[in-house]
């Protein structure tokens, strides 16, 4: 077993740092399992949304609400943040802590941008269409699904920010490498969910 306290260099840094210790391996496995569960969680929300997507109860319908440029911008931000977190992992494997931190920070900023757009969007719906979480079953399903995703984004931002700050002065180790790795997995998963959200909620909603 690799000793956590060993002095690490680019040479002896393992190829898969996230799985180099037993703790890391457990974290890695456990997190993938968790993502399996999350899949079902989001599927339940998607399914509910699909069942209620036409239940606008006389209020705003999806066709009236959604607007392509906004969704497209949000999508681009989040997709790009997925790539930047891949860059971070790339630098982690190369034992380049500084660059890894930098790309993680970029990821957070992009995610923040996404979140701001989403908040703006919700605010817009509420004020211009009187479309709220209580106004119709569609509203409930929409805000719950998209909002749950948004909460995941927000949580991910807090999590990654904590990681960045906490480890800023300690450098990369086999103790925190799995943490970064798992956080980036989480971030990708958020992106996966978003791909379905923009397709099923927004694009399908515009088609009608």
């Amino acid at each position: 077993m690799a000793n956590v306290e060993d002095k690490l260099t680019a040479e002896n840094f393992p190829a898969s740092p996230e799985k180099a210790t037993l703790e890391g391996k457990n974290k890695f496995t456990g997190f993938w399992l968790f993502l399996g569960g999350e899949t079902v969680l989001f599927a339940s929300l998607f399914a509910t949304f699909l069942a209620l997507r036409e239940s606008s109860a006389g209020g705003a319908t999806t066709q009236e609400l959604f607007d392509i440029p906004l969704t497209f911008a949000a999508t681009m931000l989040l997709l790009t943040s997925s790539l930047t977190s891949v860059y971070a992992m790339y630098h982690m494997k190369n034992f380049n802590f500084g660059k890894m931190q930098l790309w993680m920070i970029i990821t957070v900023l992009l995610g923040l941008g996404f979140l701001i757009l989403e908040i703006y969007e919700f605010n817009h719906y509420v004020h211009h269409f009187e479309f709220t979480i209580t106004s119709s079953a569609l509203g409930s399903a929409f805000y719950t699904l998209v909002g749950t995703h948004g909460m995941h984004v927000a949580f991910g931002l807090l999590w990654i920010t904590t990681l960045i700050v906490r480890n800023a002065r300690r450098g990369l180790s086999l103790y925190n490498a799995p943490k970064y790795y798992v956080a980036s997995l989480y971030w990708h998963f958020i992106d996966v969910v978003w791909v379905f959200i923009f397709t099923i909620v927004y694009l399908m909603g515009m088609v009608g």
């Binding site: 457990n26 399996g36 239940s55 979480i133 719950t144 904590t162």
Partner: protein, 621 residues
Amino acid sequence: MSTLTQKKGVGAVLWDYLTTVDHKKIAILYLIAGGFFFLVGGLEALLIRIQLAIPNNDFVSAGVYNEILTMHGTTMIFLAAMPLLFALMNAVVPLQIGARDVAFPFLNSLGFWLFFFGGVFLNLSWFLGGAPDAGWTSYASLAIQSEGHGVDFYLLGLQVSGLGTLIAGINFLATIINMRAPGMTYMRMPLFTWTTFVASALILFAFPALTVGLALLMFDRLFGTAFFDAGLGGNTVIYEHLFWIFGHPEVYILVLPAFGIFSDILPVFSRKRLFGYSSMVFATVLIGFLGFMVWAHHMFTTGLGPIANAIFAVATMAIAVPTGIKIFNWLFTIWGGSIKFTSPMLWSVAFIPSFVMGGVTGVMLAAAAADYQYHDTYFVVAHFHYVIVGGVVFSLFAGTVYWWPKMFGKMLNEFLNKVTFVLFFIGFHLTFFIQHFLGLWGMPRRIFTFLPGQGLDMANFVSTVGAFFMAAATIILLINIIYTSIKGEKVGDDPWGDGRTLEWAVASPPAEYNFKQTPLVRGLDALWVEKMAGNKGMTPAEPLGDIHMPNGSILPFIMSLGLFVASFGLLYREDYGWAFPLIIVGFIITFGAMFFRSIIDDHGYHIHKEDLLKEEKGGKA
């Protein structure tokens, strides 16, 4: 750290248990909490049966009856049966795979405390204005109309404890995937480990659906959303689906570990290896898989249409096949064996015909067109108590008695065990057999009373008498436990004499690190293999060295407490001014604890080789 079991003060013991991350101690916590909730649920069952003993009884009022009924089902399933199974899993599974620990000791403790606080929260409803009263299924239309906070207690309590269950499931999965000793391949794992594995996978995929179902209902009740509000386009049938997408796998989450327990006990007391090991594994996985494709059999009368009903009927019946494979494998395990009727063995053999009775009525229920008659009658009540009590509760009794010496180092009194068995067995059949007929004679379930002159009086009375037999049996077990803890004698590593699996290769109770040296596994029934080869114990797979242990922590307790507090805030959000701040306080506690957890490095500690050697010489006889 506390390697040696010194005499400690009450406070120290309490602190030890509050902060423990040792799976063996967490097992004891689960056993105590789950056992307590079993008594509570059993007491509620007795109240149900007293109320229904005679027609037009007014022992409890209609509203209170519905509360008792709901709490009985909810408590038994979520707070008694599952936690008690977790107790045995925690106590045994790491040992069975030759692991020093579970994959996530910290999360293991968090899982327990979430369950515990969720359960306490739910039961506090009794004292805070009334318990939930919409049935354990809490169907949306009734649950939304239900007045007071009962249903809110249900929703929040289950949400919190469900989170704990999910965490426990992930922990067992990761443990079994990553922590097996050298040589312990998947196809050498004892069946209890296998069934824990599959049941945990079911937890992983089923509980999120419950989480969503409960959340939507909670939003409707607390925040006025419209998922189930038909006036705004909502649809209550969605809730039914979400509940049963969770609910059906849930019954296999309960029964698969039970199957595992019997699969471990039967070989030991017939001194024969499990017949058809690989088909047992296959059947377990298949049941788990099919378990996700049948949920709508609880909704045959909802009006899904004949196509859906027919598909789900056929899919449901298919589960009889792998289950049958198991039944016959068990029978042929004892066939040709040398059976010793210890009390765990009595429970195990009694399980076989009892469970088959329950299983076959399940297949009858699966016949959609006929289920229009059975549905929501006592026939269903009879079915599921036959499988749950005859399967799960029997296994809990069997497993608890069987592993008691491993957990506590003392053997329960066998005579009293057998008295418990006989009384419970009689009471069980007396109570539930006749309920099949009650259902067929036209008695709906969930009724607080029935009128005379409908031909239901006598059978209901018989059923009530049976329940008291079960109560007597349970009380005798309690006496036995007290008696044993005072008088019982210490036992060795393998007190039953014929142990086959790894847990019997270590001390009773095991040292905190389980295995001083990780064992080398050379076949199915690892210990038996060594015994047959004439070895005294397991061959170690590694030289003696320092053992890495995790640190205890109070944070899991605090995180759970935070959610407990926040739940009260959410519940009383509209009633009291202090409630809203309470939500925030609760979340700050929880997230604060999470924050500390993530910024404080916890590398654990080591038990040094020298200390291990010293202990070997001095500590033990």
